[in-house]
């Protein structure tokens, strides 16, 4: 057998073996998460952006939340000036983190935001708080009335807090992989 053929056969065997043997994502993917209802206003040196995160929590994630697993989402919000015949200009951007964890002893959901913590009495309130966002984005440059401004929002699951033994166990695998596409919404000017 020629040397080249030998190498190719070997590589093929390796590839197939690895595809079979290597651990992949062991859990089913959730429905496609998305950012919706992006809106807001822009005035002065800031933009206030509202948006909703949909399909971010699968039933498994809700059950995990009830079991005390901390779930963290990180969102990226960018504000840009939209030009019709030119490239858009980013006026400001901010990364915003929000996490939630159930305290079984106190029977409350502890919500952590960059701008402060909050205790929520039940899971519905916690999910509502985790999926409705109002983010303030500092912007540079003046805001002109009548011009078009737009917010771009992107969110992804950042961390899944597990207890110590599980943290080591799931080191080589991912529980969930939640990531949205970039969503856009116009901002109102004063």
């Amino acid at each position: 057998m020629p040397q080249g053929v030998e190498v190719r056969v070997l590589i093929t065997i390796f590839t197939l073996s690895l595809m079979t043997l290597l651990p992949g994502s062991s859990l089913a993917r959730p429905p496609a998460p998305e950012i919706a209802e992006v809106s807001g206003t822009i005035r002065g040196g800031e933009a206030r952006v509202h948006f909703t995160l949909r399909n971010a929590f699968t039933p498994e994630m809700v059950e995990a939340l009830k079991s005390g697993i901390e779930i963290t989402f990180k969102t990226t919000v960018e504000v840009e000036r939209v030009y019709r015949n030119w490239f858009n200009r980013t006026m400001g951007a901010v990364e915003y983190t929000r996490s939630v964890r159930y305290d079984a002893l106190s029977r409350v959901y502890r919500l952590h935001r960059d701008d402060g913590d909050e205790l929520l009495p039940d899971v519905l309130a916690a999910l509502d708080r985790m999926t409705r966002f109002e983010v303030v984005v500092p912007v540079t440059g003046g805001v002109e009335k009548g011009k078009r401004y737009r917010a771009r929002v992107y969110a992804r699951l950042d961390k899944v807090g597990l207890t110590e033994p599980l943290r080591s166990i799931f080191f080589f695998s991912s529980l969930w992989d939640v990531e949205t596409d970039w969503a856009r919404g116009d901002l109102k000017t004063p």
């Binding site: 070997l10 390796f14 079984a104 002893l105 106190s106 207890t163 110590e164 080589f172 991912s174």
Partner: protein, 747 residues
Amino acid sequence: MTAPPVGQISPSPGEDPAKRRRERWAIGIVAFLVAFLTIFEAHLAAVGGAVAFSSNIVIFALINLNVIFVVLLIFLVTRNVFKILLDRRRNLLGAKLRSRLVLIFICFSLIPTMLLFIAATSITTTSIKSWIGGRVGQALTGALEIAQDRLEAEARALSPVAESAAAGLTAIVDASSFPRVLESARSLAPAGTALLFFEKDAEVARDGEVSPAVREEVLKRIKAMKGDGAGKETLIGDEFAAAWRRTPGGVIVVAVRSLPPAEAARIREIARAYDEYHQVRLLDDPIRASYVGILILITLLIVFAASWMGIYLARQITVPVQLLAEGTEEVARGNLDVSLDYRSRDEFGTLVASFNRMTADLKAMKGNLEETNASLTQTYDELRRRTQFIETILHSISTGVIVIDRHGRIAMINKVAERLLRIPTDGALGRMYRDVLREEHYEAIRDLYREAGETAKGQVERQVELVVGEKRIAFRVSLTALHDDAGEYMGLVAAFDDLSQAMRLQRVLAWREVARRIAHDIRNPLTPIQLSTERMSRKYAAAHAEDPAFAECTQAILSEVNTLKNLVDEFTRFARMPVPRRVEGDLREEIRTVVDTYRTSHPGIRWEYRQEGPPRVWFDPFQIRRAVTNLLDNAAAALGERGSVAVTCTHDETARKARIEVADDGPGIPSGDRDRLFEPYFSRREGGTGLGLAIVSAIANDHGGTVRMRDNTPRGSVFEMEFPTGPPLERNIGSTAPGIDDGRTGS
């Protein structure tokens, strides 16, 4: 890559040892990196606080790098296994042993590893199931509920305190009565209870010590229950229990009691265990899959590491064995320049080093042997040259020599001795001389040996007549006993000289003298006799005219006188053979002239003439022509004008001798006449003088050559005359001596 020296055998011809070493290093480094990265990533996971694949690029990169290294390790190991299988299929030397060893190693590692894998998987699954499916969950839930009940009870115990304080605060009319309210409430509170007063989400008063974290937690919890928490007026946390009341004026009164640190820690531990249990229960399948995946990865690593180790160990064993086999094959083919390129500190290294040393020693020994052989060959050649020289001398001399060793075996014998004594030419050497020689000859030698033993020098020389064939031949036998320096007997040397030739020569010389005297003594009276007879005839012829007897007598006298004169002339020519005056000339043409003369004069005989060799040689034309004439004359006389004569003139370039052969198909010469054939006055023809062959012999002798006679095939006789053809100055002095070959040879 540097080519190995000629004769050096390296592991796996065609495969670069440096490349193999690099591959080995690569496998080692990759395996180390895999282990290191695994440990490092595990450490990062332990301190990272969360599983964060998407955000933690470093860990993600490290894991991918680790996977790449694992793949590389598997690739390298599998490549080696694949290569071994190919080598085995190609029937390379050592491939079967190597593949067998690798298979054994893999089996020895695979079987226990697989058993361990199955057992570990089963145990892990069973453990997880038993943990999450048993009473652990109930116990943990119960523990948590007990803790909650405990805290709730504590909080309920504080409710009267909060109630009292709130009522007092509602009924208070001025600020001075606030201490009484506190005192009244505190009288109901357990030790360690603090009272907190909030208004509009801010603390407005506090009685007692409580940590800020507890105060903040309490405020958050109350705020969280603003909407629907009206009916629930107790709060519990992992380090406190509280009860609260809202006054109609909007002031929130909280009675809170912090738990002792040890109790708070126990409660936190219970809560953590509860969370962990539920997480495990929720992630049952992924956990088991993760464990199995890790076990598979570890199993694969063990299997491939064991395989690589097997390959490595097999190579450690088979490479030197293969090298030794190839080296032995080379040595068996005679290549002692072979050197095995293998270094190791183990027994194989010692074995290979010993092999190299052995081949080097063999090479040195071979070199010594070759030198010794060359020396022996040189010595042997010298001995052989000397022996050939001695044999040449022995064969060139006219004396027969027999050398007999101490055991009575013939150690050396020359052709002359074989011919003189008629000894069979083959097989005489090495045989006992009494078995080779005739009994008479053996006895003669024995007698002489005894006689020599009685002399001081051990040497004796005698003239002995021995019967050879049917003739008695006179020999001068010289016998010498040989002794070494120590006086030990080594054998004897017997030399035989045929005296018959010398005696014949003496007879020839005597005949020449006789002929000279006869010619002198007879020639002198013949002239007076002739003159007197002629005078008497003239004077008395008339007187005796009537008597015819007178005329007849005088005529007879004159005739006989003429005959005597001719005879005397022949005698004179024989007695006074001139010294040959050799000049350079064409021998072949001289002989052709004579043959043509006889072809003309004897047309009834078929004359053939064949010539070879250089046209010009040194000879006496007159004498050679005469000798050839005598030989052709004898041949013609023997044939009687009917038959054929073949004359051949050849030249031996090596010996620089001319040979003239005259062969006829006549009646031949009886063996009894052959001894005297070349003696003067021996003639088998009526009227012959008997000087023709004597003159031929004399001419051949004077030319330093010989003449001999032998039988022709199928009939007739052949006369061979042979003489040197060099210039006179180069003539060997010894060649003037008669060339005596046998009894049929004349000189």
